[in-house]
């Protein structure tokens, strides 16, 4: 039981990280109706830029600010040059454009820097916390990674901040209007392009934070781009347009992944099920609710 809880808590904590990536997806999907496949590479680009600068003795804070500015500018450029000309195109071509962008950024990031594996140390302690005799009533001893908690707290703060921002500010209101109906939003004078630019810039920032956290955890290398593949089932479960959905989906995927790894892997002849397990979980959820948990069901008008 204690072991189960430990696995579950570990899973939920890593799920928060997934949620963070997923929220980037949701923001862009909400505002412009596209799944941004390039997000994984944006994450890599941010982390790689940061780590390459610190390796060249640039101060931690300065490196952070430079990368932050770069990501915001990148987001705005992408909006200008790729997404805006493709406005009103089909979902399929928008998605393909982000896949193309992904490929482009991959080449760029590794061309400008390199494709080596870099260690990243943010200064968060990696020692586990032992919760022994903390819950005498339950009689449980639980070991939890301190880094996981710190990462979850940072991610959670980001998520909370974003939620508040989009719930209580004018920009947030505009974004929700845009996601409801582009045309109507434009008709009442909401500057569509500016909203898109803001969303892409915010996504850039999310990528930076997520990239640093993931980079510290698994080191900065090409494998970081896999973040996109982790985030995908999360938002499919949660619903493509829902921020709460991204959070819940992240927790579900995080927990199910860890639990699956421990309890199900045996069934399937050993290791390595985590790649498809998340997708199978997502698939099961989708078969029950085809638009995700919080996704809106559309009535098709003819």
């Amino acid at each position: 039981m204690a072991f189960f809880l430990e696995v579950l808590v570990g899973g939920l904590l890593s799920g928060v990280m997934y949620s963070l990536v997923a929220i980037g997806f949701v923001l862009i999907y909400k505002s412009s109706g596209v799944f941004n496949f390039a997000q994984g590479t944006m994450l890599l680009l941010a982390a790689l830029t940061f780590v390459s600068m610190t390796e060249r003795q640039v101060d931690f804070k300065i490196a952070f600010i430079i990368t932050l500015v770069m990501m915001v500018v990148l987001g705005i450029i992408v909006e200008r040059t790729v997404m805006r000309p493709l406005a009103n195109q089909s979902l399929l071509s928008l998605f393909m454009a982000t896949v193309g962008l992904n490929y482009f950024l991959e080449g760029l990031a590794q061309g400008v820097w390199d494709s080596a594996v870099h260690g990243l140390e943010l200064g968060i302690s990696n020692d586990p916390i032992f919760l022994i005799d903390e819950f005498p009533a339950l009689g449980l001893d639980i070991i939890i990674s301190q880094f996981d908690i710190a990462a979850a707290v940072i991610a959670g703060t980001m998520i909370l901040g974003l939620t508040l921002f989009f719930q209580y500010t004018r920009t947030g209101l505009s974004l929700r209007a845009v996601s409801d109906d582009h045309m109507a939003a434009m008709a009442v004078g909401i500057p569509l392009n500016r909203i898109w630019a803001i969303v892409w810039a915010v996504t850039g920032v999310i990528c930076l934070i997520a990239g640093l956290l993931w980079g510290d955890r698994v080191s900065v290398s090409f494998t970081l781009t896999a973040a996109v593949l982790k985030g995908l089932p999360v938002i499919l479960i949660g619903g493509l347009t829902s921020i709460p959905g991204a959070i819940v989906g992240g927790l579900i995927i995080g927990a199910s992944e860890k639990l699956g790894e421990i309890y199900l892997a045996e069934l399937f002849g050993g290791q390595g099920i985590e790649h498809w397990w998340a997708y199978t979980t997502a698939l099961i959820f989708l078969m029950i609710r085809p638009t995700g948990i919080f996704g809106e069901k559309q009535i098709e008008r003819v």
């Binding site: 799944f35 040059t81 790729v82 000309p85 493709l86 195109q89 979902l91 399929l92 071509s93 998605f95 393909m96 454009a97 896949v99 193309g100 962008l101 992904n102 490929y103 482009f104 950024l105 991959e106 080449g107 760029l108 590794q110 061309g111 390199d114 494709s115 593949l229 995908l232 089932p233 499919l236 493509l240 399937f268 002849g269 050993g270 390595g272 099920i273 790649h275 498809w276 997708y279 199978t280 997502a282 698939l283 989708l286 078969m287 085809p290 638009t291 995700g292 098709e300 003819v302």
Partner: protein, 366 residues
């Protein structure tokens, strides 16, 4: 262009429905095939066969397969390499366990991959549009995992890679170098001819489907599934059939990839990156175009080779390192995809058609 439709009387529906209605086009295609079969076979070097011609055709078939699902039926798939993997392993096991003659093994590998495709296509009946990529990605990861986790599929070889043994290229009739025996299969010419013939047959079959009810149903589902349903097209059946045929092509391509191109069986090759590369080939070449499938395969596969060659030629041998070539291709292909999507969503195939149209009235503007 110095010939055109104008002034030619079409006298029957049959002649109106020909693949190539213009006589000149037919001659061009016949001449091209004669060139491919006779001149190329007689003169090309082993390098040209093994590193350029065979892989381009094989990838072209896979691209065509993906195009059937995505370009013609509108079902996004990110599992192409996974389905190729199923095809390659199916062919290997059919030859290994049933001692099947290779062309039959290719065919049934396609059928097996097709059935797998139907299984992973089933969610398409309930989930729509973008959500479908979850099921095709699941197929991709499942393929990578299953052939790693169960060495049985690899004849209990734990290294993960098997060089395809010569006896797999089975002797069928006699010892002479005829298309039916191992000597033939082992020469690059032989593999080239087999690949060319299979590719040709698959292209013809695809063209036939596209210009008949099968293709119309695919496109109807792609363009507007509610309307398709209302005129009595079974959307579910059409989608599943498209998945079957699409993954059949991918499966055959996978089997050819293993047997005709690299000569070994390795699940690592059929990874997600390859799935994406094939999707790039579809986008660059043109969604819903047979010609485009091959143009896309030629460009995306050929670009890094071209860059390397150019580098060798300009700066002397071996100056460009692989990392540079790889990053360069990523940037170039990525840019081309974005530019094409913005300017010409029909890809190279559409560019070719517009060029043809412009040439007709050249030198006058049109």
């Amino acid at each position: 262009m110095y010939y055109r439709e104008a002034g030619r009387l079409v006298k029957s529906f049959a002649s109106d429905r020909r693949m190539l209605p213009l006589m000149e086009d037919r001659w061009i295609v016949i001449a091209f095939l004669a060139f491919m079969y006779i001149v190329v076979t007689a003169t090309a070097s082993d390098y040209l066969f093994s590193a350029i011609l065979i892989p381009m055709m094989v990838l072209g078939v896979a691209t065509l397969g993906l195009n059937i699902a995505t370009g013609y039926t509108g079902q996004l798939s990110l599992g192409t390499a996974g389905f190729m993997c199923f095809g390659a392993f199916a062919a290997f096991n059919l030859v290994l366990r049933l001692e099947m003659y290779l062309p039959f093994a290719f065919f049934f590998a396609g059928v097996i991959a097709g059935l797998v495709g139907i299984v992973f296509g089933l969610p398409a009946l309930r989930i729509k549009g973008f959500y479908l990529i979850v099921s095709t990605l699941a197929a991709q990861f499942f393929a990578e995992w299953v052939f790693n986790a169960y060495p049985w599929f690899l004849d209990n070889n734990s290294s993960g890679v098997v060089a395809l043994p010569p006896h797999h290229y089975k002797v069928f009739l006699g010892q002479e170098s005829t298309p039916f025996n191992a000597v033939f299969w082992h020469s690059y010419q032989g593999r080239y001819l087999i690949t060319l013939t299979i590719t040709l047959l698959l292209v013809l079959a695809c063209k036939n489907m596209v210009r008949s009810a099968t293709g119309r149903n695919w496109m109807a589902v792609r363009d507007m599934d509610i309307a398709a349903n209302v005129i009595g097209i079974s959307v579910a059946k059409t989608k599943l059939m498209a998945f079957f045929i699409s993954t059949f092509y991918c499966g055959v391509a996978g089997a050819m990839y293993a047997y005709c191109y690299i000569g070994n069986l390795d699940f690592m090759i059929f990874n997600l990156r390859r799935s994406f590369l094939i999707m790039f080939m579809v986008i660059v070449g043109g969604l819903g175009s047979i010609l485009g499938s091959f143009l896309g395969a030629i460009f995306v596969y050929g670009w890094p080779i071209l860059i390397t060659r150019m580098g060798d030629w300009i700066f002397g041998g071996g100056t460009l390192d692989t990392a540079f070539v790889e990053n360069n291709s990523k940037i170039v292909v990525g840019t081309i995809i974005i530019v094409l999507l913005i300017r010409e969503p029909g890809g190279f195939a559409a560019l070719w058609l517009t060029t043809k149209k412009k040439l007709r009235s050249w030198p006058f503007a049109n």
